[in-house]
C-alpha cells in the first residue's frame, strides 16, 4: 500500500492532468497549468494538515 503522501501526490497529479486537458488547448499552456494545479493541491493539503496540528483529534 502506498503511504498517504504518495496517495495525495497521485490524486493531485490525476486532477492536475485532468484540468490541464480540460481547460488548456496547447502543450506549453497545459504544462504550466498542470504544475500550478499540482503544486497548489499538494502544498495546500500539506499546509492545511500542518495548520490542523494544534486541534485535538476528538
Amino acid at each position: 500500500m502506498l503511504d498517504h503522501l504518495s496517495l495525495l501526490l497521485l490524486d493531485a497529479a490525476l486532477i492536475a492532468v485532468f484540468f490541464a486537458f480540460l481547460w488548456k488547448s496547447d502543450g506549453a499552456a497545459r504544462w504550466r497549468y498542470f504544475w500550478k494545479v499540482f503544486l497548489a493541491l499538494s502544498l495546500g493539503a500539506i499546509a492545511i494538515g500542518w495548520l490542523m496540528y494544534p486541534f485535538p483529534r476528538s
Binding site: 490525476l14 492532468v17 485532468f18 480540460l22
Partner: protein, 136 residues
Amino acid sequence: MAAKGSPAKAPAAARLPLAVLMAAAWLVPGLGHLLLGRRQRAAVFAAVIATAFFVGLALDGELILPRAGDPLSYLAAIANLGSGVLFFVAKLAGLGDGVVTAASYEFGNTFLLTAGMMNLLLVLDTHDVAVGKKAW
C-alpha cells in the same frame, strides 16, 4: 482557422442528439469527446478517470449509495454515480463495498469521488463543445 488540436469534423456526433451525446459522455468516460472528434483528450480523460476509479477500489474505497438519515451520502452517491458504467460494473462485480476499518478507506473514497466528479465535468464540457461554446 481551426484551433490547434481541434478536429476537422465530427461526423459521429453530428448525427447524435445532444442528450444522447451527453448520456454517452456520462456512461463511458471520454466517449463524449471521442464522438466529437477530440481523440487525444478523450484518451487522456478516460485514462485519468479509470485510473482514479480503480485506485479507489484498490484502496478499499466505497461506492456510496444513499442512506436514510445521512444527507451527505446523497451527495456522495451523485458523485459516485458520475463514474457511469464503471460504477455499475463494479457494483455488479461485488466491488466497492468499502472496508471502513482499512487505513486507506478515506483515500479510496476520495479517489472514487474524484473520478465521478471529473466525469460529470466531462459531460458538461461535452455539452459546451457540442453547442459551440468551446471551440476546441
